[in-house]
């Protein structure tokens, strides 16, 4: 996976995670370009598109778009599952997550993502163990 973006229907970036080294300027350009393409797509359209030499997999949950860039040989369907799994994790953690949760606790969202994916690869396929790790780390945080 090259990167994961979360953005709102209004085109505001909510989360970005880059797994390949990209220059700041290119990042901005790519984000802008992608948001434009994805937001222009109609709801009935499929979740995949070919963009530059990457494949984009996106899915909309409520007002948020989750968007991943993967390589040619990667599996689109499993990427959709990754997105879904991430949403489930957020949901479990925040208790029926909404966009505001992610805006105000954006660092938490990152922590969850980091526990779930690392370097663009799935770290743990079990929801439970990811959540446990997060909870434990949060506990540690409270103690201090």
């Amino acid at each position: 996976m090259h990167f994961m973006l979360l953005f709102s229907r209004q085109g505001k970036l909510r989360l970005q995670k880059w797994y390949t080294a990209t220059a700041e300027r290119d990042k901005k350009k790519m984000v802008r370009e992608l948001m434009q393409i994805v937001l222009a797509r109609k709801p009935k359209m499929c979740s995949f598109l070919e963009w530059r030499d990457l494949k984009i997999v996106y899915k909309r949950y409520a007002s948020l778009y989750f968007c991943c860039a993967i390589e040619e040989q990667d599996n689109e369907l499993i990427t959709l599952e990754v997105i879904h799994r991430f949403v489930e994790l957020l949901d479990k953690y925040f208790g029926s997550v909404c966009e505001l949760d992610i805006i105000f606790n954006f660092e938490k969202a990152y922590f969850i993502l980091d526990e779930f994916l690392m370097g663009g690869e799935i770290q743990d396929t079990s929801k439970k163990s990811v959540l446990k790790a997060i909870e434990q780390a949060d506990l540690l945080q409270e103690f201090h």
Binding site: K44, M45, C46, F48, L49, E76, I78, Q123, H144
Partner: protein
């Protein structure tokens, strides 16, 4: 002190935390930038404080601002400070900020090494975890090198939480610091069997990713993965494993067989679509489209898994209501189509359905698929369906896409699938009625192409084009439709050029001279004017036959009346042509008034037939006496000239859109001389396939390839279509025609069977109509005699026969700059036994050949001290002469020794055989060997000398004046890590035996303080196969060859070869440079010829090969080599 702390925490209460910042930004929608700049000022203040809590808060806010697109690189050092906090809360924030903001060029990263190392070894697993996560985002080569060891230790940590993170991050470390792979690999492998499933899946992930980059090294893990695959139930892991096998199987075909069962089970049993998709994708697609399709063809894997199974599964995907599955199904289907067109074609209905889908991306995918699915039988039906879609399509982009696809589908591979060109012209005419399309020029070029190349269609085409011209106002009605008016260009030209077919040329002439024409774009007007003149000539001719001469004079008057409109045109081209023709007509009118018959002479202006010329024809034109291609026309431009101004631009200019054929008058005598010279050359040219003499004769007499039978359309209904045509009726007509043909064929067959039953010849199935049975109603002109398989339509030049002269473009340009020299291909480590992937490189090498030729050219010219390069324009057919010759040295004894010593890698590429363009065509004794030298050591290599011990048969060509044992100096030096290619020419006397040449390479290794002289021995293996050149052969020529009786016979049995027949053929074609002449079921005839012109004919059956060749020794050796190829698999 206590006061200070209290004060600090009170301050903190007034600080904004992240939530405040976010809220603030949301409340300041109007002046966000201003608000944020004040926030940044505050943050800067906060960062100056000693309190780590305040700092962490500030850094957290900065991370948020960074996401919004603000530059926070100035705070990098503060981030490091927060990272090094001992409290997990802050450390976590610090690492998060670092992972978001740091990149390879952030200089403070250097400062973090020790901190990270400390965190990695922290007793608290979450400290370690956070450090690993952060590191995965900003790891640099330096960090990777310094920390590789620490991370490796963590792979055996007691906590699975750490182990899995450590395993995953190793992948990033390997990428940044590849040297770490070797020491870490055993441990990584161990993790595949880790008791914790998370760690295990992490290890699978990492190895799968690594294997995708370089599968060869991971073959040994196959059994382990096989076990995992059969035992694991985790879909995430399974997908990765299947992907991994997809990468491994091309290297180890035996794996395929083992995989069949578990994979089939998975395909049948899994409910997870992602897994199913992966199976199908890997098994049928990845495996089939690696760098070398012909090799992977031999994979047993997909043989035993019938493609039908996979296509059926895909059908389920496509039928699903989920758009995503539909899309992926189509995507996978289009990949399978390449290898198994038949199995996909049966699902045509489904694909056509997808054209109705709401989702444009799905429709586009379906269109892509249709392109590959058409056959002679279903073309009309599919196009009809597409035409319906064109009518109802919304949005110009999709409609334009449809239009281009329709044209692509119809015109693919030389209009292979079109059986009725009247139908196609009607389709094109119908397409002109599309609103607002940008592809007018595309339709126009199709019209021109068809009208020029399909002679039988010209009458019909002209009639249609005349109607178009008559209704030109429909096309130019509003400005939006300007794109489509390009078709008028084609229409005008076709009507003019083939005006003899016009029923009412006068009417068309008037249509072309309407005042409205002046609103068209200039280039179209120019064509109008020129072709009006042609029409004028035709009209005159018909009118002069009559007794009444006034009609002719009236026509001239019409021209004189209307042309001034064009003379005033602002477009130079239009103006120039118009005034020229106006004067001509005025002069004609004068003659007419004197009752002089002028029609003959006027039409002579435009006489001449357009005939196809093979792309190679250029070569046959002798360079005129006195023309020195090597000399400068202009003085060479200065060296400083920018590189971009390459001859390419010149070449591109030479081919304007629908370029008018060049006409140059050459007197009859000269022509005859040339024809003679050409015949002579054909006779001497070893590459000129002398097909059966009869067909050759026909070819020479009438270069229109008339020997291809043109089937006359025999329609029961008179084909007179008033007005614009309707393509639909052709579908019906075509059906009738085919039925008739079938009936005739059956009759003929019966007769034939009675007549004789010879062993050779095509077996005719009288069963259901097969694809081949459908004969086209019209034939496309193709110069088949010499058409190399890569030639494409656009490479034809049409030249009027009368003026058979080809312009020679000589372009002087500066000599090759250093930077233009052959791009040097860097090679991987020494791979003495050739791996299949390397063979793949050979093909990628191909495009370079041309430049290599130019390089040689240059070398020669250098000797003459004349630096000249000939533009590609002159030798547009050069590529046809190339084919590769694979000379591979398999065991290079000297190499291993050498690697240890100086790490010099010496690889033999698949070599290319290049014929000299100047007269050396008959020289079948030259072989060019290219060698890539790569310096893998840290020292400078120089004074390389390449020497081969000549045998009686083969000699290394040395420059004049050098002794027979002198080495050739390699013309470059190699700094560390650099590779370069050198070419050596060998003269080979006899090619009937394979041979090995011993050689040595000497060179000086220069270190900073010392230099040593080294020597490296090697062997060059020239196989007999390598002397064969893939040469296409026609079945009639082939039959003649076999009948001639000059050939000796031999045969070989293929034992234990267990592969489908087409793979067998593919192998022979690929490895042994044969081409298939004809294939009937599981029996095929193949042909190849040696560089010295020996014919080698094979009759391949599944278990044996019968072969004939005029040189028995050569044949024996080639057969041995073929046998060897198959014994290896």
């Amino acid at each position: 002190m206590a006061l200070k702390i209290v004060k600090g925490s009170i301050d903190r209460m007034f600080d904004k935390n992240l939530q405040d910042l976010v809220r603030g930004i949301r409340n300041h929608k109007e002046d966000e930038a201003k608000y944020i700049s004040t926030c940044i000022d505050e943050i800067k203040q906060e960062l100056k404080q000693d309190n780590i809590a305040v700092k962490a808060n500030a850094v957290c806010k900065l991370t948020y601002l960074q996401m919004l697109g603000y530059d926070v690189s100035w705070a990098a050092f503060n981030i490091v400070e927060v990272m090094s906090s001992s409290k997990f809360t802050y450390k976590r924030i610090g690492y998060l900020a670092a992972s978001q903001c740091f990149h390879e060029s952030t200089d403070v990263i250097m400062l973090t090494t020790n901190q990270i190392r400390k965190d990695l070894s922290s007793p608290n697993q979450y400290d370690t975890g956070v450090a690993l996560t952060g590191l995965s985002c900003f790891v640099t080569p330096d960090l990777a090198r310094d920390l590789a060891n620490d991370i490796m230790t963590l792979m055996s940590h007691t906590k699975p939480y750490i182990r899995k993170k450590a395993v995953l991050i190793m992948y990033k470390v390997f990428l940044k610091y590849p040297e770490s792979l070797r020491p870490a690999f055993p441990r990584l492998k161990e993790k595949l069997e880790d008791p914790d499933p998370g760690v295990q899946s992490a290890a699978v992930n990492v190895i799968c990713e690594l294997a995708r980059r370089n599968p060869k090294n991971y073959l040994s893990l196959a059994p382990l993965f096989f076990k995992l695959m059969t035992s694991s139930t985790n879909n995430w892991v399974l997908i990765k494993i299947i992907k991994l096998f997809g990468a491994l199987t091309p290297l180890e075909p035996r794996l395929g067989k083992k995989l069949i069962e578990p994979l089939t089970n998975l395909i049948h049993s899994t409910s997870a679509m992602s897994l199913l998709y992966e199976c199908v994708n890997t098994v049928y697609i990845d495996v089939n489209t690696p760098p070398l399709p012909s090799l992977s063809l031999s994979l047993c894997l997909y043989l035993s898994l019938p493609p039908q199974l996979c296509v059926q599964k895909l059908r389920i995907l496509i039928e699903d209501s989920d758009q995503n599955l539909k899309y992926l199904g189509l995507l996978a289907m289009s990949k399978i189509l390449k290898t198994h067109p038949k199995s996909v074609q049966s699902h045509k209905d489904l694909i056509l359905q997808c054209l109705d889908d709401k989702d444009e991306s799905i429709r586009l995918r379906a269109l892509d698929l249709l392109y590959g699915m058409v056959s002679k039988k279903n073309l009309m039906e599919i196009v009809k369906k597409l035409m319906l879609h064109v009518d109802k399509a919304e949005g110009t982009t999709y409609r334009d896409e449809l239009l281009t696809k329709i044209i692509d589908i119809c015109s693919q591979s030389n209009y292979q699938y079109i059986t009725n060109f009247e139908w196609y012209i009607s389709i094109l005419v119908e397409l002109t009625r599309l609103e607002g399309t940008r592809h007018g020029h595309l339709i126009a070029s199709q019209m021109l192409d068809v009208a020029i190349r399909v002679k039988a269609i010209r009458g019909f085409a002209v009639a249609q084009m005349a109607t178009l011209l008559d209704n030109a106002h429909l096309l130019t009605g509003n400005m939006q439709r300007m794109g489509i008016c390009e078709v008028l260009y084609a229409a005008a030209w076709i009507c003019g050029e083939f005006s003899e077919h016009l029923e009412n040329p006068m009417q068309t002439l008037e249509a072309m001279l309407r005042p409205k024409v002046a609103t068209l774009p200039g280039h179209i007007q120019a064509v109008y004017v020129q072709n009006a003149a042609k029409l004028f000539a035709t009209v005159l001719k018909s009118q002069e036959g009559n007794t009444d001469s006034t009609a002719a004079q009236e026509t001239s008057q019409l021209m004189i009346d209307r042309l001034p409109l064009f003379v005033q045109s602002a477009n130079l081209e239009v103006q120039e042509r118009a005034s020229c023709i106006l004067q001509l007509v005025k002069y004609i009118q004068k003659l007419q008034q004197k009752d002089v018959e002028v029609a003959e002479e006027v039409s002579a202006l435009f006489a001449g037939e357009l005939n196809p010329v093979a792309p190679k024809a250029q070569k046959k034109v002798p360079v005129p006496e006195g023309l020195d291609l090597d000399s400068w026309i202009n003085e060479p431009p200065s060296e400083s000239e920018s590189e971009d101004e390459q001859p390419k631009a010149i070449f591109a200019k030479e081919e304007p859109k629908h370029s008018r054929p060049r006409r140059e008058e050459v007197d009859e005598k000269e022509l005859a001389k040339r024809r003679e010279a050409r015949k002579q050359e054909q006779a001497n040219n070893p590459f000129y396939i002398k097909a059966s003499p009869s067909s050759q004769k026909v070819y020479q007499e009438a270069p229109g390839v008339e020997h291809i039978p043109v089937v006359q359309i025999d329609l029961s209904v008179p084909l007179k279509v008033p007005g614009l045509p309707m393509s639909d009726q052709y579908v019906k007509l075509e059906e009738e025609r085919r039925q008739k043909e079938r009936a005739e064929k059956k009759k003929k067959e019966k007769k034939k069977r009675k007549e004789k039953r010879s062993g050779r010849g095509k077996k005719h199935d009288s069963g259901p109509e097969s694809e081949e049975d459908i004969t086209p109603a019209h034939q496309v002109d193709i110069v088949t005699e010499e058409m190399p398989e890569w030639s494409i339509i656009t490479s034809y030049i049409f030249i009027k026969t009368k003026s058979y002269c080809v312009t020679v473009h000589v372009c002087s340009s500066r000599p090759l700059a250093d930077s233009e020299k052959l791009p040097v291909r860097s090679h991987r480590a020494a791979e003495a036994p050739k791996s299949p992937t390397e063979d793949g490189d050979a093909t990628s090498q191909e495009p370079k050949k041309k430049s290599s030729k130019e390089k040689r050219e240059k070398k020669k010219d250098k000797d003459r001290d004349r630096k000249v390069r000939i533009s590609t324009g002159l030798f547009l057919c050069l590529l046809g002469n190339h084919s590769h010759l694979i000379l591979v040295s398999s065991g290079l004894p000297g190499i291993n020794k050498c690697i240890q010593k100086s790490k010099l890698v010496f690889c033999f590429l698949p070599l290319t055989k290049v014929y000299d363009i100047q007269g050396n065509l008959q020289d079948g004794s030259q072989v060019v060997v290219s060698v890539i030298f790569e310096n893998k050591c840290d020292s400078f290599l120089k004074s390389m000398e390449f020497n081969v011990l000549d045998s009686l048969n083969s000699k290394l060509q040395r420059p004049e004046g050098s002794g027979p044992h002198d080495g050739l100096t390699v013309p470059f030096q190699l700094p560390p890590g650099v590779s370069n290619e050198a070419r050596f020419v060998f003269t080979v006397q006899s090619i009937i035996m394979p041979q090995k040449l011993k050689g040595t390479l000497t060179f000086i290794v220069k270190n900073e303080d010392s230099s040593t002289h080294e020597k490296l021995d090697f062997k060059l293996h020239f196989t007999c196969t390598s002397y064969l050149i893939t040469t296409p052969c026609y079945s009639d020529a082939f039959a003649k060859l076999l009948e001639s009786g000059d050939l000796k016979c031999s045969s070989v049995r293929l034992e234990g070869v267990n592969m489908p027949f087409h793979h067998l053929l593919a192998r022979i074609c690929f490895h042994h440079h044969f081409s298939v002449v004809e294939r009937i079921d599981s029996c095929a005839s193949m042909y190849s010829r040696s560089i010295q012109g020996h014919h080698v004919c094979l009759l391949v059956k599944t278990v044996s090969i019968d072969a004939k060749c005029d040189e028995p020794t050569l044949l024996g050796n080639v057969l041995d080599e073929i046998k060897q190829t198959f014994s290896q698999c």
